[in-house]
Symmetry: C2
Subunit: 139 residues, 2 copies
């Protein structure tokens, strides 16, 4: 198995609401059928799909709701950009359970949650290499 | 906010067990401190961290356990490779709640769960473009 993630799908309660939220962050995607939406995200794909359908498709026997131990992160170029993205997420209908601040690992980050409660850490990490094209390298 | 995911962190109960599982799939990563592990995954980073710490860091008020509406996917080159990856995941200590089979969207896929229950769809999707370097493009 190649060391690569091709697609991340987030389960959502209302596809239109979720698409509007990500559009509010400036993301461009499309739903070919009103059922699932796809966004090109660098060399991978980000998708939104009804959580009930995703659970069934993923072989989940019982979905009790809530968070499931997965957090996405997005690296930006500066601490100021962390604060700006968090503010845009709030304006787009998200919540900010952890505002921007210095971290124990020497960077600066905060967390927003999308309307379905999926958390994103927005971070400036001076220890990793962020290329011009947005790809990230350890060290 | 650029249309990009930089990092995915999976919360785990036992870092060593989780690292051994992904090593069993052929993934190479390292834990600088025995607390968190990082794997370079194409132009992004894949991480494993204690689920309790990830929950606290992500601003999750209460983690009730279980799945949270996020499924990762990995595209391979053929239906046969889907079956091979699922079998290697089972051999490495994962479960296979959905074996390989034809899908409603015209491809072939199955699901494995890692030892912490995080599902991965392994898929052959003839409708998307998978470049030699493993990156994926819609259409």
């Amino acid at each position: 198995m190649d060391q690569r993630i091709s697609l991340i799908t987030l389960g959502v309660a209302d596809l239109r609401r979720a698409m509007d939220f990500y559009a509010g962050l400036g993301w461009e995607g499309a739903s070919p059928d009103g059922d699932v939406a796809f966004f090109q995200a660098g060399g991978m794909v980000f998708a939104l799909w009804g959580r009930d359908k995703l659970a069934a498709d993923s072989g989940i026997e019982q979905d009790t709701g809530g968070w499931g131990g997965v957090t996405l992160a997005h690296l930006v170029r500066s601490p100021g950009e962390v604060d700006a993205v968090l503010e845009s997420a709030r304006a787009a209908g998200g919540t900010v359970p952890r505002p921007g601040g210095k971290t124990f690992w020497g960077g600066y980050s905060g967390i927003f949650c999308d309307p379905d409660g999926h958390p994103w850490e927005i971070a400036h990490n001076p220890g990793w290499t962020r290329a011009e094209d947005g790809t990230v390298r350890l060290g």
